[in-house]
Symmetry: C2
Subunit: 209 residues, 2 copies
Amino acid sequence: MDHEGQILPAAHGIAVGLRSGQAIRIENVHGTQVVDTWALSARDPLEYASMEHTRSWNSSIFVEAGAVVVSIRRRPMLTMIADSSPGRHDTQLCPCSSELYSQLGCEEPHRSCTGNFHEALAPLGMKVPFTPASLNLFMNVPIAADGSVTRKPPASRPGDSVTLRAEMDVIVVLSACPQDITPINGADHTPRDIAFAVLNAPQSGNSDD
Amino acid sequence: MDHEGQILPAAHGIAVGLRSGQAIRIENVHGTQVVDTWALSARDPLEYASMEHTRSWNSSIFVEAGAVVVSIRRRPMLTMIADSSPGRHDTQLCPCSSELYSQLGCEEPHRSCTGNFHEALAPLGMKVPFTPASLNLFMNVPIAADGSVTRKPPASRPGDSVTLRAEMDVIVVLSACPQDITPINGADHTPRDIAFAVLNAPQSGNSDD
């Protein structure tokens, strides 16, 4: 097991390669932290996890335990094989970005999930000329009957985790969301560290393998 | 007024350039036809209309009269200035694609909104190496309290139309959705023509202009 208990510091991002069958467990150490998550095919970064195809595949606007995250070409990329949180992970809202922080009144540069996505891919030599929609783990965005959305603190508890199994060789990008203006990362508006671990596929019992 | 009453044949797509201030009226001639719609900046096709940023901007999962469609860089691209339909235009589901039709059991090639998007851009020399999420005009996808989605025939009536005003110079791509397996284009599963017209900006009263 590589990376066990590795910490992703608050407001930062990381890219993690998973071979098909490996999984990543993402732990909400403090319970209040949103994790913007992307997946890209290891062979072609333009085959990315698509929230619109994922909603179509699952006939649901949420990603919950058992749901499959599919690519823009409708190939399974990740399966959520475990989830100890209240679930209902958000697929509606964009990753935060420098433009969003400007619109929220920030006059100084502000770290963002969009920046973290590209920063995390750079050491791998991967460049994506846009920012796909993210799967927003632990993000609590209730939708009213009239379609309006609200941005609430996570309903998860300290230590809650989700586990995503790779269905192909993928690069997973995680961003511990830097948002500190809305309450999306807790009522105290404080981005915090998360933890993650890469889990190897269960070994086959067949010693001839 | 250019293009007045131009017909877009069933199951086909078209790209239409709009200068800032011009508008496009899209008429659901038969009332039962979904129109997958995209916008790209005329200057940089990688600045595309983003459903995830649009939901964030409007704090709503639907695009309705008055809503602004923003780009991946959070710049207004289109405003829905008029809508005679029941509204609630879908932003959840992917444009249909060859992969989707294969998964629905089609053994022969099937026209798709994804194919129409790229086919419509080709004569302009525009290539986009992926397919952004579409704004699905007239598409009726109710969302239950548990987050599940259903695919229903449009609630619009023959002649209902929406009007989108360009807030920058844009290329709008329309696809009269070819879907004939689900009832999304009517209970009789029959894709039909739509009509559209480009409307010039109201002239200023100042003759010195």
